[in-house]
Subunit: 361 residues, 4 copies
C-alpha cells in the first residue's frame, strides 16, 4: 500500500511488553506489515544478450564438458540468460539449447508448459510430442504442453539450435508450486501418429460431435482449455504477417502483431501463463507505452533498437532482450524487422490486474 | 525440476575461462539453474493463532498507541498473523481489526480485493461500499472488491471486530505487481444508494436486457467477471448449510461445505484470487487429503482439532489457523463446528495447476 | 427473400416438358420458391383476454364437465387463449388453470419447459417438483423445467388459480420436435427434500468444489445450462423492483424491468426458449419500439393500456394480452402498474436474429 | 402431448352456452388444444435427387428461359429439391446453381446464413465476400455469412456449378422471422482485400490483443459468435480425413467425420443454425441410429446406399438425399465414399432438445 502516510514513527512506538506479546504469537501491527509488502522480489532490469556471446558461452560449455563424456539422458547444452533469481525474468524462462547430430534429449514430461522456437533447424531435427514427430525447421514454434511426453531427436547431420521457453520461474518461484516431473521409460517415446496428425485435429475441420471432455492432462485441475501438441510452421505465420501488412493498420505499440493461438480455442494465449506474438516492424518507430507485464524478445530477423526508459537495447538477428514491467518502451527497427514477443500478460489478465498506458507527454 | 540426476558434479566442472564468459554475460548453464528453481520462497508452516492471544495483542497496541492521539485517517488497530514474509501465507493476508464507537476507517480504494468477515458487529457498524451502507452483523461477510471505494463507520456504542482478508501477498509479493491505491477526498464517501440496493441487483430478478459490458473497474484489464459490492448475510448461509445437512451427504474432506459465490456469476470463486467456504462439521472426523493450495481457517463456532501431518492444531471459537500446501490434513470437531475456509485454490486453477489427492494408506 | 423483383412472370414461363421434368423429380426453379417462403404461418394479432371472460369460460367448463365425474389423472380445468394455431402465439403457450380444494394434477414430466405463475394461491397450494413442495403464494413463479417430475396439490380449502406457461408451440409446431412425455407411477411423487432445499442450492453460497457435470436431464443433449426447479417468491421480486425504482432510471420501453434469471447462471433467460420479466410502470407512458420477438403480458396489478399500432389494449388486473412481432407498441399505465412480461426473444438471440428498433418519427 | 388419454370424448362434451363463451373470447379448453399440437407441419420423407435429373431440369430451365433474355440482376439458374413446403427440409434449403462463363450473380446481403459447396468450379470462378475474392475450386466450401455482401463472378470459360445451402426454411417458415435483404449499389462489390486475407485473420496466428467486440453484423443481436467469411479448401479437409483414417477409429454412425468449424471459435457448428461434416466411409456399413435432427447429404465421391427405415436410397456422385428426423438409418458405401453431411442439429442443441439413440435390437 504505497500511500503517503503521516510521519508517525514516534507515535507508533510500542512498549516492550506489547512487542513481546506480538513476537511470541507471530503477530505484527498492520503499519509494519504495510511497508514491507511488495519488496520481497526485484523486477528484472532491461537487458540484452547478443547472439555471439550466447554462442561463445555454449561453445565454452561444450569444450569443457563434452557431451560424449556424459551419461545417457544428461546430454544437453543450454545457456540460460539470467536477470532474475534463476531466469531472464520472474515469470518466463528462456534457454538457448544446441543438440549435435545423432543426439537425443530423452523423453520426459512435467507440469510446466514449454515450447521450442527453432533458431537453426532442419526437417530431420525433430521434437517428438504425444506420439508425433514434429520437424523443426527454421522459426517453427513447437509446443510441448503440460504433462505431454516430449523428446528431441537430431537425425540430421548439423548441430541444431533453438530457444526453450518455459513458465518455470512463475510456477516454481512465484506460485511456489511443485514441478511434477517424470522420465519416460524409453529414451525415445514410440512414434504412434503420422506426421500432420495433431495439426489435422485442430484444423478447419475437426472431429465431429466429439465433445471434448475438457480434461486436463496429468494430475491437475483447472479452468483453462489445455493447449495441444502443435507445430506452428513459420511459412504460415509469415504469410499472415504479410497479409496484415498489405491490408491492415499496424498496432501502434507492437507493429503488425500476430498472437500464436491455442489451437483448441483459436484464441490467445497459447498457454495459460504465457502469450507469444510474431511482430513485423516496418513503419518506423512504434509509439511508447508501458505495462505491468514483462516482455521477452527474440530477434527473428532484422536490426534495430528498443528503447527502455533512457536505455537503448541495440539488437540484431538472434539476440534476446527483456523489457521489465512498468518501464516505458518503444521499438525502432533500422529497416524491416521481425520479432518473437513473449509475455506473462495472461497471468495478470487471469486476475483482472493487467494495466497498460502511454506516458503523458 | 526435481528429478534425480546422476552424480555428475565433477563432470560438470567448467573452466575459469568459460565461467568468466558466462558471468560476464549473465548466462548460466542449465544444470545450475535447475537446482535453484523453486527455492526462493518458503511455504508457511502449519500454525494457529488463539483468539485470546490476538485479543491481548490488540489491547497492547491500543494501550501503547491510543487511537485518539493519532492523526485523522490513521486510526486503526490491526493485528496481523505472520507465517510468511508479511502475512499468514504467501497468498492470503488476514488481519484482525477493531474499531471503537464513533471511529471511521477512512474511504479509499485499491487494486487488491478485500473482504470483511464480522467477528463482533451490529446493525450500526457499517462498511460503506460503492454508495451503500452494509450493516456488519455477526458472521456477515462483506466484499470490498477491486477499485471500489470503501470505508468503515462504527455508529454503534460497542467496539466492533472483524477479519480483514486480502490477496495482497499474492498480488505484491508473488506477482510482483504494484498496489494501486487512492484515498477518497472525503473521510466518508457519500451514501447514494438505499440499503439493499446491491443485493437487489444480483438477486433472483436482475435488470433486464442490460447486457453487462463486462468492464473491470479501474485501470485494469482481464478476463474474469468483476466481483460486485455485496453482503452475504449469515442467516441465509446458515440456513443453506442446514438444508444441505438435512438433505445431502457431506464432502468427505470438508464436511457440509458452501462456497461463497461471485454474485455476478453464481459461481465460485468469490474473487479471482481467493475462494471462501462456510463449512459445517458434524459427522465425526473428515477424511485426510492434501493439495497444493493453501488453506486459512477462521473458527466461527465450535471446538475441535485439525491434524496437519503429525501436528494437531486445537481450535476454539474465533481462532485462526493455516494449513500449508501439500500437507496431509483432516478436521476433527468435538461436536458440531462451523468454519470459514479460505483458499488460494483459484490461483492454481487459473493455470491448470491445482492438484489434490488422498494419502495412500 | 422479400426483395422487389422485376416483373418477369412472362419471361419465366416454362415449357410443359421442363415443367414435367421438374415435377417428376420434386424440383422447383428458385424464382418460384422465393415467393412462397415465409408464408406458411401467420403472426398472431394484437389481442387481449379480460379476466372476467376467462373466469366465465372456466366456470362454464366446470359446470358442463364436473371434475368429480372424470377419471383420475384427468381432472384439470384449463382455458387456453387462442391467437395462433394452438396457443396465444407461435412460440409461447399460456393457459389459465384452476384446481379445487383436495384435487391433484397428477405427476408427470416432459421435454417442454413450463412454469406456473400464481394468480390466486396459498401456502397449502403446492407444486411439487424434483422432490420438494413449493408453496404457491400470490404472484410466486415456480419452474417445472424440462424432464423434472411435477404435480400440483391443492391442500388448502380454496380453489387455486394460476397461469401455465410453456414453450410447446415453439417446440411442437415450429421446431416440429416430438414432445417426450412420461407419467409418474404415482399420482403424487414422493417428497424427498425439505422445503427450501432447491433454493439453498442456488443461493449466495453453493455446494463447494462440486463442479456441475453440465448434464441435461432426460434423453436430451444441448449447450444450455439446465434450469433448476425453483420458486421465485414475489416478496423478493417486488423488493428488487422497489430498489430499482428508488435508485435507478427506468428502461425507456419497459419501465423498471427485472428479468427472472436462470438460478444456475444468474443470467436471463430463465429457459432457453422463453424469458420473463417483472415490470413496474410508474412514470407515465413508455417510449414506442418494435422487435421481432413476440411479447405476452399478464397484468399483476394496476390498470392502463398498451398501444399496438393503432390499437389500444385496455387492461386491468389479471388480464392477458399479446404484442405480435414487428408491431410498434408502448405502455401507458393509469397510475402504477406491475406486469409479467413473457417473450420468445431468446429464440431469436440463439441465432443472432433478434432485431429491435424505434419507429422513426 | 402424445400421452395416451382415457376415452373421455363423451365426458368432455360442452354445452352450446359454454362453447359460445369460449369462441367469443378466442379461448379453448386444454384437452382440445393438446391433440392438435405438433400437427401443423409435416416432416419430410426420405428421398433422393439423382444428379442426372437435376442436370436435365437445369438444362430445361436454361432452354426455356435463356439467361441472356433476362434483365440484369436476375440471371440465375437454380433447381431446388422440394420435400417440405419450400425446400428439401423444414430447416435447410439446398439449391443447385449454375453460372455460365462471363455471368455475375449480383452483390447483395441478407439475414440468412449461406454457403456454397463447389461441384464444378475453377480458380477463376469466384465468390466475392466482404471484399475478398474466394476461388471456387472443386469441393471448396465458401461461407457467405449473415449480412456480408456477396456476389459470384464466373471469369472462367466453363459453366460452374455449386450447391447453395441456406437456413431460409428455418428462419422464414419455422421462426416466422423476416428475411432482411439488401442489394449492393454495384453489381460487383469492390475487391478491397488481397486473396488469403480472411484466412490469415483466422489462422494459427491471429491479430494480437485485439479483443473482438463480439458484435454481430447488421441490425441483429444475439449470443453466438458470428461466422466470418471463409473458404475451406478441399485439399486440407481431405488431408485431415486421411489423417483420421490412418490414426483414429471411425465414428460408428458417421464414419471418419470432420465438422467444418466456425473459424472464429475453432468449434462446430459452422453457423448457429446448421452444421456441416465431411464424412469418409470406408469400413463397410455404419451402425444404425436415429435422431430428431434432419440430415441432408451431398455425395462428393463414391457410390453406395443409405438405408432409411425400410427404404434404400442408392446414391452416386453429386446426388442429393435427405434423412428425415426420427428415422433409423445407416450408410453402406460400395467401396470408399465421401459425403458432405448437413444437419440442423444446432437448432435442437440451442434448446437442449437434441436426442439421438440406436434402435433396440
Ligand atoms: Fe521438458
Ligand atoms: Fe510493450
Ligand atoms: Fe482497503
Ligand atoms: Fe483441504
Ligand atoms: Fe406438465
Ligand atoms: Fe417490447
Ligand atoms: Fe445471397
Ligand atoms: Fe445420422
Amino acid at each position: 500500500m504505497a500511500q503517503t502516510e503521516p510521519d508517525t514513527e514516534e507515535l507508533l512506538e510500542l512498549s516492550s511488553d506489547t512487542r513481546s506479546i506480538l513476537e511470541r504469537h507471530d503477530l505484527r501491527p498492520l503499519w509494519e506489515v504495510e511497508d514491507d509488502m511488495g519488496t520481497t522480489r526485484q523486477d528484472p532490469e532491461a537487458d540484452i544478450w547478443k547472439w555471439e556471446d550466447i554462442q561463445s558461452a555454449i561453445d565454452g560449455i561444450e569444450r569443457d564438458v563434452p557431451i560424449a563424456d556424459l551419461p545417457p539422458g544428461f546430454q544437453r547444452r543450454v545457456a540460460v540468460p539470467i536477470n532474475a533469481p534463476n531466469a531472464i525474468s520472474n515469470s518466463i524462462y528462456v534457454g538457448i539449447q544446441t543438440v549435435s547430430p545423432g543426439e537425443t534429449a530423452p523423453s520426459h514430461r512435467h507440469s510446466a508448459n514449454a515450447l521450442r522456437f527453432t533458431i537453426d533447424g532442419s526437417e530431420d531435427m525433430k521434437t517428438v510430442v504425444a506420439g508425433e514427430e514434429f520437424p523443426m525447421e527454421n522459426n517453427d514454434l513447437i509446443t510441448t504442453p503440460q504433462w505431454e511426453w516430449h523428446d528431441h531427436v537430431n537425425d540430421s547431420d548439423e548441430t541444431a539450435a533453438w530457444l526453450d521457453v518455459l513458465d518455470l520461474p512463475f510456477v516454481l518461484d512465484s506460485l511456489n508450486a511443485r514441478q511434477v516431473f517424470e522420465n519416460h521409460e524409453l529414451e525415445r517415446q514410440p512414434v504412434t501418429k503420422t506426421q500432420g496428425y495433431w495439426d489435422s485435429q485442430y484444423g478447419r475441420g475437426r472431429p465431429a460431435d466429439e465433445k471434448s471432455d475438457g480434461s486436463i492432462p496429468g494430475p491437475f485441475e483447472g479452468n483453462r482449455e489445455a493447449t495441444p501438441p502443435y507445430r506452428f510452421g513459420w511459412d504460415e505465420m509469415l504469410e499472415s504477417l504479410r497479409q496484415r501488412a498489405e491490408n491492415d493498420d499496424p498496432d501502434r505499440h507492437d507493429g503488425y502483431s500476430l498472437a500464436y493461438v491455442n489451437p483448441a480455442t483459436g484464441k490467445e494465449p497459447l498457454f495459460p501463463t504465457m502469450s507469444f506474438r510474431a511482430q513485423l516492424l516496418n513503419e518506423g518507430p512504434t509509439d511508447a507505452h508501458f505495462h505491468n507485464a514483462t516482455e521477452v524478445y527474440f530477434v527473428i530477423e532484422g536490426e534495430g533498437a528498443t528503447h527502455v526508459g533512457d536505455e537503448a537495447l541495440e539488437w540484431g538477428q538472434w539476440d534476446v532482450f527483456v523489457v521489465p514491467p512498468n518501464e516505458t518502451h518503444h521499438h525502432e527497427p533500422d529497416d524491416e524487422a521481425v520479432l518473437l514477443g513473449m509475455t506473462d500478460r495472461p497471468v495478470f489478465e487471469a486476475f483482472n490486474l493487467y494495466a497498460e498506458a502511454e506516458p503523458s507527454s
